[in-house]
């Protein structure tokens, strides 16, 4: 009896230890970035380590959001115009790509599951197989195509490239969602005289809502984090997203780490909000998207 208690105590302790190790690994770097972003600039270059800044300062955020600010003793122009434009660009391209991808996948995947038409299976397998193609393999022809369509440096061009990159995953996910919905519901609707499209919109899509949300989250996160595509296709601030702007804060002789971490914290806020509130859908989506 005593031995058994001893064993469970050991088991509990090692479990707690392992959980804290995992939390430290996952959240430690994000925590450190946050601490850096609220540490006064002078304390960043001290040799002492503080787990929480001795004085909390929002100076770095001031540089991002304020009109002007002081850097190394000089008054400098705020980077808010650039930063807000890049943030808006990130939002426009990510949300645009997400809505269109989910819409196209919702109808496309339904056809792949419930309808028979010539070329159905081959189209599906070709689309899924493109997930294995690295972005750079198609980047150069895409570049020429976008130039000839004058879609370089436009939101539309970037959105369509994102759709082509993230549609296969969304289709794969929605296909497994539709397969799990019992067909009897749809047959009942047909018997009542409902058309196929009406049935999909009114009966199937509400049931598939968790899958649609999961597909939307995955697409949004992928688009929000993209770097290679906008590096090539969004050369100016007209369409440049945050992921391309933030590394440009590194100037040749001086890296403002406080500013970069503050900008990073702002850039990771939307993904963090999604994970905190919609974690359930995200995990089920990843499980369905990766398995089977």
């Amino acid at each position: 009896m005593y031995m058994k208690n001893f064993k469970t105590v050991i088991g509990k302790t090692s479990l707690i230890f392992a959980v804290s190790l995992l939390l430290f690994w996952s959240l430690g770097p994000i925590y450190w970035s946050f601490v850096t972003s609220i540490t006064p600039p002078n304390d960043l270059v001290s040799s002492e380590l503080h787990l929480w800044p001795e004085t909390v300062s929002f100076e770095h955020y001031g540089k991002l959001f304020g009109a002007t600010s002081i850097s190394q003793g000089n008054e400098v122009q705020s980077i808010w115009p650039q930063f807000s434009k890049a943030f808006a660009n990130s939002l426009v391209t990510s949300i645009g790509a997400t809505l269109l991808t989910v819409l196209i996948a919702a109808f496309g995947a339904y056809a792949f599951v419930r309808f028979t038409f010539p070329g159905r299976d081959i189209l599906f397998y070709v689309v899924v197989a493109t997930m294995a193609i690295p972005a750079y393999t198609v980047m150069i022809p895409l570049y020429r195509l976008m130039i000839s369509l004058s879609l370089i440096n436009t939101h539309t061009g970037v959105i369509f490239i994102y759709i082509s990159a993230f549609l296969p995953l969304a289709l794969w996910l929605m296909r497994s969602v539709y397969q799990a919905i019992p067909i009897s519901l749809e047959e009942a609707a047909y018997l009542d005289g409902a058309g196929k499209t009406y049935t999909l919109m009114r009966i199937v899509l509400p049931l598939a809502a968790p899958g649609l949300i999961a597909a939307a989250i995955l697409t949004f996160l992928n688009a929000w984090g993209q770097f290679m595509v906008p590096l090539v296709f969004s050369p100016t601030l007209a369409t440049k997203p945050l992921t391309v702007l933030i590394p440009e804060f590194v100037t040749r002789n001086y890296i403002d780490y406080g500013l970069m971490n503050a900008a990073g914290i702002v850039a990771i806020a939307p993904p963090i909000i999604l994970v905190v509130f919609l974690n359930k859908y995200l995990v089920s989506g990843l499980m369905a998207g990766s398995g089977k």
């Binding site: 770097p29 270059v45 082509s164 984090g225 290679m228 992921t243 990766s290």
Partner: protein, 301 residues
């Protein structure tokens, strides 16, 4: 009247086929125009010499591929990429399986732990790289600070001065981001294992290690194959982390960085295309090897 209308209606089968094709039309055109045709164009052009700075596009056969084999920068980037693949795949698999086993045991607050675990995967890789760049900073970075205060090093190190250290540190940043995906895939596989198998093994007197080897491992092998191949493909495509942390530096240059530089900085389009085709083939072959291996070794015995 009604009878005539009925006869005029197209056959339901045909109607269904037309509707189905209508639903997939956007998929067909977007994937065709933006992925399939560009891929064919890449393969085709890799046998020509396409350079926007030069007139004409002469056919050169396998010249681009032959040049790639003897280019020292390309060779270096291949070596680096294989080192990245080896380190990140091992790190992601070991840590990912460990995290999945742990999550499968935890009952209290599991969804919050899952959220914390998955967070690094959800963040932009560029921001991750910036955050770690500050951690690795030679003068004020927390890595030097912690190691100094623990007495493990005597003075601040400039981490990226040593090539292998640099490759390892970049691999950690990549593995930090990608490990959650492995963990989620393995966790899904673990949750599908019937509980009574463990009870049966317990009755047979199997210890925890034997149970893991004889029950858990064979039953998660499918998930493991998927996790390994996605880790490999992502590691072959490593770009963001290495580019942010060390730019075009040859010591840490990956094949994808080499493609970017050849094509978009030196404007040797065909050369870059040929290299990107080789990179795609390499990642596909390596992942196919895992899948075949694992399926062959763990067919139920």
């Amino acid at each position: 009247m009604n009878r005539i209308l009925n006869r005029l209606r197209p056959l339901p089968k045909l109607k269904e086929a037309i509707l189905g094709m209508g639903y997939v039309t956007p998929v067909f055109f977007i994937m065709g125009a933006l992925v399939v045709l560009p891929l064919i164009s890449t393969i085709w052009d890799s046998f020509y010499n396409v350079n926007p700075m030069r007139a004409g596009t002469p056919f050169v056969g396998f010249d681009n591929y032959a040049k790639l084999l003897s280019d020292p920068n390309v060779q270096k980037s291949w070596t680096n990429t294989f080192i990245y693949v080896a380190i990140t795949v091992i790190l992601e698999t070991v840590l990912g399986v460990g995290a999945a086993l742990l999550l499968n045991k935890v009952k209290f607050g599991r969804s919050w732990l899952l959220a914390a675990l998955i967070l690094p995967w959800c963040l932009p890789p560029v921001v991750n790289a910036v955050v770690w760049m500050w951690i690795y900073n030679p003068s004020y970075g927390v890595l030097n600070g912690v190691l100094l205060s623990l007495g493990l090093i005597e003075e601040n190190r400039v981490w990226f001065n040593d090539q292998f250290t640099a490759l390892f540190l970049i691999s950690i940043v990549h593995a930090w981001r990608m490990m959650p995906l492995t963990a989620i895939i393995i966790l899904a596989a673990l949750q599908a294992i019937p509980k009574d198998l463990y009870e049966a093994a317990k009755l047979d007197g199997a210890g925890p290690i034997k149970m893991f080897r004889k029950v858990t491992l064979p039953l998660i092998s499918g998930g493991l194959a998927i996790a390994l191949s996605q880790s490999t493909v992502f590691a072959f495509n490593l770009f963001d982390e290495a580019w942010i942390l060390n730019g075009a530096g040859l010591d840490t240059r990956t094949v994808m960085i080499q493609v970017y530089m050849s094509a978009f900085q030196n404007l040797k389009f065909s050369y870059g295309m040929a290299l990107s085709i080789l990179a795609m083939l390499a990642s596909l072959i390596v992942s196919a090897v895992y899948v075949l291996r694992i399926y062959r070794e763990t067919r139920f015995d």
